[in-house]
Symmetry: C2
């Protein structure tokens, strides 16, 4: 008997998962929460064999919740549940030790299968996600500073304004931008913002 708990802000999804689990006698649904901030308390309370974590949630997102859970319960099996395959989320989640990454459009059978795979000790990664992960692994990603700057760019700040806000020389801002353009394969700041949002690097 494998116990499962879920954190997802969409009640419909929680209900769907609950009933998917009911179709297989091996699984038992033991708890739920609708906010990433409640992930740790939920684990403390029910100690599920597998914790399902939605990636995108308002407030404390799934990645942040994953970090917290892994910090307090290093042995907790966590499987991410996602609507999309935004590259950064996939990479972060797997790097942070998630045991699986499942897209919600999978059939019930596949979801069950993924949970069984995880219980057997293997990673469970949807096929579409795997390629995203492989691609991202070989790229360099953005550094912290670069992400900060990209966020400000997406808000319409000029290089000079960014320099003021971050207490940097405009030259430094330009250098970071040049580097992040290359890292993202962007021609200019507009494309960089589009790519950044699509990959989940910035909100």
């Amino acid at each position: 008997m494998t116990t499962v708990a879920i954190v997802d802000d969409h009640s419909v999804v929680r209900i769907g998962i609950k009933y998917v689990l009911m179709t297989d006698s091996e699984f038992k649904f033991v708890g739920e929460a609708d906010d990433g901030a409640d992930a740790v308390p939920l684990v403390e309370r029910v100690h599920p064999d597998i914790l399902l974590l939605d990636v995108r949630m308002p407030g404390t997102g799934g990645i942040a919740a994953l970090k917290e859970v892994r910090a307090k319960f290093p042995d907790q099996r966590v499987v991410m549940l996602s609507m999309s395959d935004a590259e950064e989320d996939v990479y972060q989640a797997l790097t942070l030790g998630a045991r699986g990454y499942v897209i919600k459009d999978n059939t019930p059978g596949r979801i069950i299968g993924a949970l069984k795979t995880v219980m057997s000790g293997e990673l469970a990664i949807s096929e579409s996600v795997r390629s995203v992960y492989e691609a991202r692994k070989s790229e360099r990603g953005l550094t912290g500073r670069e992400k900060e700057i990209l966020v400000l760019v997406s808000k319409g700040c000029s290089n000079a304004e960014i320099g003021d806000i971050l207490h940097l020389s405009p030259n430094t801002v330009k250098n970071h931008l040049k580097n992040l353009f290359e890292a993202l394969g962007a021609a200019d700041r507009a494309e960089a913002v589009a790519i950044g949002i699509r990959r989940g690097l910035i909100a």
Copy 2:
């Protein structure tokens, strides 16, 4: 007895909705599809009292499906089901005659309530969505040309390149850009792209 069918690419959501409906004897789940392109055939087959349509789907999206359904079955009640409140989707859906717009994080009770509201003849719009709709109604939105240009901007095209692609003078491109900056409240092309994606104007 109210019959309900759903089009949503996420199987977990379909299952969740199915079971939410089962909790109320007034509703009967009569059909489902996982692709917007199947919306019209589904309606033809089961003629539900209410068709639930997911807004964001790969391929034929919910907005396009709504258009098709409304064209062939003008009396079909359609309620949009959405993860987000991207402004453009909300506006489009309600303008195109959707009878409701429900966010998936609503409690089962609220979802049921929304369906009952629609059956009583009223519009069912989640509170968070209503304000988005009101805000959008008073704004001017983007024209077709402006959207086209914004898409190219998000791909890193310069004004000259955009002119080449659309067979326009660079001056015209600049004028469209100036206008769309003002319409979106953007300072530059980078912010315009960010706003455009957030509002659901461009993919």
